[in-house]
Amino acid sequence: MSNKSDQPNMDRRKMIGGAIAATGAMTIAPGVILHAASVSDEASAGADAKHRWGMLIDSNKCADGCSACVDACNTEHGLKGHGRPATDAVWIRPVKLKDKQTGRENRLVMMCQHCEHPPCVDVCPTNASFKRVDGIVLVDRHRCIGCRYCMMACPYKARSFIHEALTEQSVNAPRGKGCVESCTLCVHRVDDGVMQTACQEACSKEGHDAILFGDLNDPNSEISKTLKSTNSVQIRADLELNTGVRYLNL
């Protein structure tokens, strides 16, 4: 067994058990080794450092009163409200802005900005907040102790704390009481080769096309081309976090 285990050594047990039981009913023939962590053919190869996933949101195209992306995100990840807006989980939220000087109005969606230098990862005491090699910032809920320091540190208020016990979660996003969570950039889709997030899919279906997901490292991707030819901004660029989510016409 290549697995590290606190279990007793099975082969030894087998020998003893087999000798005692004489028949050795379940003794596997010597030399049979089952590979514990083998990956089947259809498994994804995993996150690759040659990509950096990101998003571009066109503030001009984000339609007033529309909540298609929020609804799609909630459905995709099984986020259900409990009628308590102050404690319900929010992964993506619409924000409408008005310039104090000029009065120009904007609408956009905010979510985890998937920073290159994420403050949440810096402050997490247990390494539960982490950045994947392909730039997606996630919470490993197996390690999260629920201290909420990341929520204090995030400049974008992107994170939610799960304030109640949950059941019937989505397989796409296992989640439970006492842990912190945020937008995963639909990591389950990315790993599966589906290069479209739930919010983008919904936005396109509505005909708005305000959200564009893609590989920031690939110069030929649509998002990279658009970013190169237009004037996009990062929110709170002063913090030099190099966000993976960028905005147009803000």
Partner: protein
Amino acid sequence: MRSSLISNSTLLILLAALLAPAMQVFAESRFVTENSKAASLKSCVAPTDQMRRNHMDYLQHGRDDTVIDGIRGIDYSLSECIDCHASKDQQGQAVSVTDEGQFCQACHEYVAVSPACFQCHRTTPDTQAGAAKLGHHSGDSDPHEGLDIQLPAGIQRD
């Protein structure tokens, strides 16, 4: 000091002899819940005794692969355990694997452990969130069939 009538080793052998039939029965037994997909399959993704002993290690290994490295569709995936081992009630509704007497609960109760898995992971198959689409095993290459184990002559896999 030799005060006892029978030596320790004698006692051990005696105990072993008594236990042997029970152990054999246990080793050959296979516990699946009725009306679950598992009941229709020949074996789990690994031989039963290995799964019994090591499933938690397999799962833990797989969880880090998936969460941190993004490797999906691993052989030992919790959602697949649930898909396979959750039984259905008379109305055809999936029963939670942590309900009384169900697959996960029955054994964990017996050995008095309370795994934290189900505080975050669902306990019934997810029919809505394209689970099959997401590379969890389906179709041709079912690992249940693909176990390359040579069993001693005369022994049938359960």
